[in-house]
Symmetry: C3
Subunit: 342 residues, 3 copies
Amino acid sequence: MAVDPRFHPVAQPLTLGDAAATAGGELRGGDPQRLISGVGPLDAAGPQAVSFLDNRRYAGLLPATRAAAVVLAEDFAGRLPEGVAAIVTAQPYLGFARIAARLHPRPAPRPGIHPSAVVDPSALLGEGCEVGPLAVIGAGAEIGAGCVVGPHAVVGEGVVLGDGCRIGAHASLSHCIAGRGVVVHPGARIGQEGFGFAVTPEGRFETMPQLGRVILGDLVEIGANSTVDRGSQGDTVLGAGTRLDNLVQIGHNVRTGRGCVIVAQVGISGSATLGDGVQMGGQSGLTGHLTLGDRVRVSAQAGVMNDVPAGTDVAGTPAWPAKDTLRAMAALRKLGQKPAQG
Amino acid sequence: MAVDPRFHPVAQPLTLGDAAATAGGELRGGDPQRLISGVGPLDAAGPQAVSFLDNRRYAGLLPATRAAAVVLAEDFAGRLPEGVAAIVTAQPYLGFARIAARLHPRPAPRPGIHPSAVVDPSALLGEGCEVGPLAVIGAGAEIGAGCVVGPHAVVGEGVVLGDGCRIGAHASLSHCIAGRGVVVHPGARIGQEGFGFAVTPEGRFETMPQLGRVILGDLVEIGANSTVDRGSQGDTVLGAGTRLDNLVQIGHNVRTGRGCVIVAQVGISGSATLGDGVQMGGQSGLTGHLTLGDRVRVSAQAGVMNDVPAGTDVAGTPAWPAKDTLRAMAALRKLGQKPAQG
Amino acid sequence: MAVDPRFHPVAQPLTLGDAAATAGGELRGGDPQRLISGVGPLDAAGPQAVSFLDNRRYAGLLPATRAAAVVLAEDFAGRLPEGVAAIVTAQPYLGFARIAARLHPRPAPRPGIHPSAVVDPSALLGEGCEVGPLAVIGAGAEIGAGCVVGPHAVVGEGVVLGDGCRIGAHASLSHCIAGRGVVVHPGARIGQEGFGFAVTPEGRFETMPQLGRVILGDLVEIGANSTVDRGSQGDTVLGAGTRLDNLVQIGHNVRTGRGCVIVAQVGISGSATLGDGVQMGGQSGLTGHLTLGDRVRVSAQAGVMNDVPAGTDVAGTPAWPAKDTLRAMAALRKLGQKPAQG
């Protein structure tokens, strides 16, 4: 299966030998000079393409694959059919990603400012930036070299972007300082007012001024239509390399460490603190003012209501250590079965 | 209650006889020549309007309704007051929808391209398209006849839309092939990069190139601010007639059958496969790589972690067959009650 | 810690005496003529700034604070170090909010229409409105005095906004009547079609025309990327002072009372009715057609499936009275523990 050339650049062909070297793997059973020109899943990749096996759920597809080569772990190398080369590595997904990125490199920015964009004269743009149709760049914004600002994106007054950032269509940023290589996908909202108000004795709400910023570390990625509120007084901070999927909510004053992974539709309430390498499964949530230690893993849909020490896996609502939750749910299921079914 | 003419076209009057025929129902107790000019809920419809009863929760409103006629099922026809006609049908909601659509037809597109829109010269637009203020249509896009592209919508490079599509304000589409009659509500994000990356031995994340597309079948509808990521290698596919409510997340490589119903805030993780007619309740979620058979129904807030065979109803987190979950929750509630209350 | 002047106006200095009066509190241990020029959290506020203590979780920071003064309750006044004044009040959060708002008042609108905005000639704008770059205002829209319409915002045909509304970047409003002082944060979607369709005997979906409006009471606030569908026949109504956080879904025909608080990622299904002062925790949801009485509180992630009487707290999925749910979860946890651990 080749990529659709309407949407993706056609591949730069690569030899199998180059591919194996790129993947950091060992080529077995294939001609190192054979050219490949694409990638594809096991059941669709043709004889010009490289595929991979990472999730053993798909191992049954190996014997019938028509790919030129498959990136996989040692254990599975023997299951390939005649004529299909193996690229053997302990990290097949990483190896494959690197081959795919060489075959289909991300298109470089097309430097220039579209005539329909509205760029304030006081904004500073680095070398080689691409600013799309109808983008808006506010007064005093500072944009590093080689950034791409998509159509209809708004980079607000005073916002700072490091080199090589990519801002998707319709995204908006305000009150934000971003490092280099930050990626904001379409429709994400960064830096708006958080949800903060005081209640008067008469029961009316008075907005608490939201006087902080959003600080995005190098290489942070924010998914489509996600929302990251600015701090109320201090800052909201996402540590370097942290990635948010789509439709994630980050409340004011949240601070994450480096390399956190926040899956779609997670909600992190205000003033939570996450260590390095925290992982939160889809639709999980934290109540406010919690602390999660380094490498905590939160299961999908879990609701965390207490601090969690480093290295702990939690699950359920309220979230308990994952093993406790699994046992409790097994006991509950037994309890709910009719005697005749037990 | 009449519609607000600032927002909706005024009704084309209709006779009760025509209305009954449109609904595929039988008119009882009313003059077929009587004119009606609007629709409304049971407690607000006046003597020029038609109403309906579909949810028996509202049956208590029947005796006091002032509507000209009510579309309802046989069982309830006897509860109408004197002077209110019945339009009796086995599908009152469908019948009423058809009457409402005749009285208040959707306004036709207003052909033309707003002078502020940015349309690439290489884009192809069919007959009778309406392109709103500040819309952006990219190079090589192909837009069918009679499409409406709303204000600020972005139809990206190479995107294909069939005839009669409607793209809402601020929606963005890239890497997407859509059939005819597709509706994308405001702010929806279609075709952006999915959430895919490999982890290096040092713990850094490297993005997996996302080389696929989004394929939307005929008559698919995507709710406001929903997100549909493109495939990583193959495609993300929504089958014909499938409808997504607002704020839904569809991960890369998801494939649904025809006529699925995905309620608001559902999250479908990457590479899940849904059969035809699958229904997912609000805020429910699937973990990745699952298969749901035809006509599976997932309860609101359920978290599905295993494959589900066709025709099964599931509920809870982790999701079990709905009856098991109901029994388990009843047992749990009993367990939690104090002896004095049990 | 001072605010970042790139993003926030520099404070207007204030005396401690004025600050205490603004907060409605009593100044203790400080010179009423001492000037303050900023606000900050307890651990970052410097000797020119005022801080506060509202959540006792942070009381341990009191002895080391370097703030000029701290707004707090009587019980904690004795814990401040030498030289730090106390502003004692029964509502420290409210008092602090008022000081912060005096030091950092919200910038006034900058009257004028950006030349890139697209304003229909039939739209009516009140005195002193600010209309940002590339905003779109439709035919017949009526916008009150002193409103701010952000960059790329769309105020649709016929939409009415009261005085002093603020519409964020990329927000879209259609079919909507808003009171005064309404705030719509970036990317929110107001007034689009709800999720309504009938099913034909052949299994096809036919859209139910959505003929109502959205009515937003005075001082309503809608969070970033939230979605509020218009009514199907009657209206969707948010009562005065009601606040929605980010990524909230409000289905068609929902009606809330005054002063409801709806936290991020909540989903309220169609035709639900909420009384005054209802609070819904993050990621909670209601099934359709429910009624919640005044001052009902719904816990985070709860799934409410039945009507709830006024003044009741509910938790869990399905939601039960919160005390029952807490007991049931405690019993469940015991059940899941190994005998050796019990």
